[in-house]
């Protein structure tokens, strides 16, 4: 290997600082969430305790955070499943141009770049003016899809742009129906990317704030609850909540990444040796 240049060391230092910048604040509040009962929102630590985590379990101190957590979890799963299914179907549709595909493509881009508060406001107005109940599982669900679907679709477009069509042709040549080809050939090949789409679907929904602000109705999702807390809670209890919900997100991310890793390992182990010659 050739020797590392000086620019490598400079860039590596910038990259390291960037990571500190990214993770430093989160690690800080994780530490501060263990403040003693007398501690404040910043250093110094006045003792170490689980006091603020304990307070999270007392309704009168923090409101209905566990109910909102449950709602965010269910909503996240709903959005995740819908995002995966709709994105795969959309991805399949967009492999060939069809009348209207250009318009739909620009709608997807619009959905991605439109300020979130407009979706919130518009959906909220439609529901209230037509007499429908604004609820996290209906209006909130739909609003969040306008944020998760563009990501899912862009990933699927990228996947299918790189997809080797000869696998499908082989399946068809051997008599597979269109559905069999999708079910037994296309889906297994793109499965690891589907886990990626699912990860986007869940996490973006679980953390979404602006699009649910006017569309969640009387029952808050967790980000709305946290936002409410920022205006009237001035104790480290909010750090404890932040630490827990970030920890939960990290666990979810780890589960998805491990799933992709295992799937790729399994594939490498059990994959076909076709084209590798006789050994």
């Amino acid at each position: 290997m050739e020797k590392r240049s000086r620019s490598f060391h400079v860039l590596a230092a910038v990259f390291t600082l960037f990571l500190v910048f990214l993770y430093g604040p989160t690690i800080t509040i994780a530490i501060l969430s263990f403040q003693g009962p007398q501690g404040g929102l910043t250093f110094p630590m006045r003792g170490v305790s689980l006091n603020w985590f304990h307070e999270l379990f007392q309704q009168q101190a923090v409101g209905d955070i566990w109910g909102s957590f449950a709602r965010s979890l269910v909503l996240g799963l709903m959005v995740m499943v819908t995002t995966v299914v709709v994105s795969v179907m959309g991805g399949l549709a967009f492999r060939k141009r069809f009348p209207g595909s250009g318009v739909i493509f620009y709608l997807i881009i619009t959905s991605l770049v439109i300020p979130s508060i407009l979706v919130s406001l518009g959906v909220g107005l439609i529901f209230s003016q037509s007499g429908l109940d604004v609820h996290w599982s209906t209006s909130g669900f739909g609003s969040q899809l306008t944020w998760t679907l563009p990501f899912g679709l862009l990933i699927m477009f990228a996947v299918f742009n790189r997809f080797d069509k000869s696998y499908e042709e082989a399946a068809r040549d051997q008599g597979a129906t269109a559905w069999q080809t999708v079910r037994h050939v296309v889906l297994p090949i793109i499965a690891p990317m589907l886990i990626g789409v699912a990860l986007f679907g869940f996490t973006l929904s679980y953390d979404e704030f602006a699009r649910t602000l006017l569309t969640a109705g009387s029952y808050n999702t967790l980000p709305l609850e946290i936002y409410g807390m920022t205006t009237n809670v001035t104790t480290p209890v909010i750090f404890a909540l932040g630490t827990l919900t970030t920890g939960f997100s990290l666990i979810i991310i780890a589960v998805f990444l491990v799933a992709v890793l295992m799937m790729n390992r399994r594939r490498a182990r059990l994959g076909s040796d076709a084209g590798k010659g006789m050994v």
Binding site: F21, L22, L107, L118, L121, S143, T203, F209, I226
Partner: protein, 307 residues
């Protein structure tokens, strides 16, 4: 296994009747429509209709307690004649431009390091994921996490004071333009890194070798080869960052302690006062502004080709 040994049917539509004929017989157009139907329905009900609704309501009138259908230009007239509007739009554009410039330089540097200086694919993936993971966690928590750093008695002030750089705490660290832009950079640099990294990974490495072989310096290679080839990624990243910052209201509200304004906050304040028609008019103007900016940026890149 049995059907693999069968003779290959020459005409797939002729071999079995019924279902196969139905699926294969349909034209591509109908297949495309059916497959994209769920997507189209979601976008119609939760994107197109809401925009239409906002445009309609922007012409409505409002009392203190309710809104009523009308066709009047009062909301726009009030909006476009108020000096507040212009200063708030100017402030919004200021945030967008500054954030864009910082995230561009930072994002490009990070992507450049990952794409050209990290040598193994495994390390590239690991370091890339390290940059990506915060994106999948809560934005609000990430904003809150700046408080212990930037507060009056926060880490930044106490460190600077103990080092003797300053004598008294800096007041402008939290609840200022500085903290707002810091949070934007913190939240959105990733949106620059990912598309730029993506285009850089597709640059044929032999082009760079060719540049060096012909005597180009590192800087010349960067400006004459890498940057031009990375332009599509830069454009896509710019679209993300500019639209996210222009449409934001929560970061500005939270990080400025409600002391600074942008268009998003103008809208959310109207909403809080139940002045939906006025909020809708502002929203329409914001949407038009954002779409114009996107339109300009899209002239430089074909997104469908870049995926």
């Amino acid at each position: 296994m049995s059907n693999q040994t069968q003779a290959i049917p020459l005409d797939t539509t002729a071999s079995t009747p019924g279902r196969r004929r139905a699926t294969y017989g349909l034209s591509d157009a109908v297949t495309g429509w059916l497959l994209s139907l769920p997507l189209t329905l979601v976008l119609l009900f939760f994107l197109v209709l809401p925009i239409v609704m906002i445009v309609i309501v922007s012409f409505w009138g409002a009392t203190e307690f309710s809104i009523y259908p009308a066709f009047q230009f009062d909301n726009y007239e009030f909006l476009l004649t108020s000096p507040v509007t212009y200063s708030v739009f100017l402030n919004t554009i200021k945030y967008a431009v500054i954030t864009w410039a910082i995230t561009l330089v930072l994002g490009f540097t990070i992507a450049y390091f990952l794409a050209f200086h990290v040598r193994t694919l495994t390390w590239q993936i690991v370091l890339f994921l390290l940059c990506t993971i915060p994106f999948w966690t809560s934005n609000i928590i990430r904003m809150i996490s700046w408080i212990p750093f930037l507060g009056r008695n926060g880490i930044a002030n106490s460190t600077l004071m103990s080092m003797g750089v300053i004598d008294e705490p800096l007041e402008w660290l939290l609840f200022s333009d500085f903290s707002v832009i810091l949070a934007f950079v913190h939240l959105y640099t990733l949106f620059m890194v990912v598309p730029i990294f993506n285009t850089m990974m597709r640059i044929d490495k032999s082009l760079i070798e060719a540049a060096y072989d012909n005597g180009a310096t590192g800087l010349q290679t960067l400006t004459n080869v890498i940057i031009p080839l990375t332009k599509p990624g830069i454009m896509i990243g710019s679209i993300f960052v500019v639209t996210l910052v222009m449409g934001d209201f929560i970061t500005v509200r939270f990080m400025s302690g409600s002391q600074k304004a942008n268009v998003g906050r103008l809208i959310s304040n109207d909403i809080a006062l139940l002045q939906y028609p006025s909020a809708a008019a502002t929203a329409v103007v914001l949407l038009v502004t954002v779409l114009i900016v996107i339109g300009i940026l899209l002239r430089f890149v074909d997104i469908r080709k870049e995926l």
